[in-house]
Symmetry: C2
Subunit: 163 residues, 2 copies
C-alpha cells in the first residue's frame, strides 16, 4: 500500500495538482485527437467512432455486433445507435444471422467498401499532425496499451462483483 514518496516534497496538498496534470493530459490529448479527426473525417461524412467501426469492417469484413464491441471495447448501448446511423448513411447493412437469430451481422455496402479508397489518406495526415516520428508513436502506443491494461485490471479489482 504505502509506496515510497518521502522525496518529491509532497505534503498531501500538492498531489491534487500533480494528479490534475496526469489524468488531464490524457483527457486533453484524447479530445485533441478527436478534434483533428473531426476535421479530416468530415469530408468522409464520418465521426471518429464511426471511423473506428469502419476500420474494423474494412479489415475483417462482415462482423457480428458482439465482435465489433470486443474489438473496440464498446457495448451495445453505444454501438446500436451508431450502427443505425451508418446504415442510414448507406455504408453498412445490418441483418440477423439465420443460424443464430440473436446475432446481428454487420456488413459493408458497396458504398461503404468504396469509402476505404478515400480513407486511406487519413492516417498519414494524422501522423504529420502529431509531429511525432514513427518511433515515438510506436513507443507511445506501447506505453498507452500498458497503461490501459493496468487500469482495466485495477478497475476490476476495485469493483469485485460487477459486470
Amino acid at each position: 500500500m504505502t509506496t515510497e514518496l518521502s522525496r518529491d516534497t509532497a505534503p498531501e496538498e500538492d498531489w491534487l495538482r500533480l494528479d490534475r496534470q496526469i489524468c488531464f493530459s490524457l483527457h486533453a490529448a484524447s479530445r485533441a485527437f478527436n478534434g483533428v479527426y473531426r476535421v479530416l473525417l468530415k469530408e468522409l461524412g464520418l465521426t471518429y467512432p464511426q471511423y473506428l467501426v469502419m476500420l474494423v469492417l474494412w479489415e475483417h469484413g462482415e462482423t457480428p455486433v458482439k465482435k465489433l464491441g470486443e474489438h473496440l471495447r464498446l457495448d451495445s448501448g453505444t454501438l446500436s445507435p451508431l450502427l443505425k446511423r451508418l446504415e442510414a448513411a448507406g455504408l453498412v447493412r445490418r441483418e440477423r444471422s439465420t443460424r443464430d437469430e440473436r446475432s446481428v451481422q454487420v456488413a459493408l455496402t458497396d458504398e461503404g467498401a468504396a469509402l476505404r479508397e478515400r480513407a486511406v489518406l487519413v492516417p498519414r495526415r494524422i501522423m504529420s499532425a502529431t509531429g511525432f516520428s514513427l518511433e515515438e508513436i510506436r513507443d507511445l502506443h506501447i506505453r498507452l496499451d500498458r497503461l490501459t491494461t493496468a487500469l482495466d485490471t485495477a478497475a476490476l479489482e476495485e469493483t469485485p462483483g460487477r459486470r
Copy 2:
C-alpha cells in the same frame, strides 16, 4: 511533406491497421482512466469532469466560468449543465458578478471545500492503479502535452476560418 517511409513495408493498405492502433490506444487509455476514476469518485458523488472542475476550484478558489473553460479547455455548452449539477449537489454556488453582469462567478460552498479532505486520497490510488512510477508518469505527461499542442495547432491550420 513527404516524410521518409521507404522502410516499414507500408503498401498504403497497412496504414489503416497501424493507424487504428495509434488513435485507438489513446481513445482506449482515456476511457480506461475514466473507468477507474468513475469507481473511485463514486463515493465522493462526482463524475470525472466534475472532479476536474473541483480541482480547479480547490486550487484557485472562486473562478468565473470563462476561466474554468480555459483551464479545462471546455466550452460553456459543457460547463453550464455540469455546474448546475454541482450546484444542485450543494458543492458550488453560481452568482453573477456585480462588476460585469455578463460574468458568472463559481465559488465553493463549505460542503464543496470540505470534500477536498476526502478527495486528497484519490490521486495516489490512481497512481498505484496505473502501475507506473513517478518518472514514467512525468515522462508520459510531457509527451502527451507535446502531442496535444501539435494536434491543436494542426487542427487550427486545417480549419482556417473557424473559432
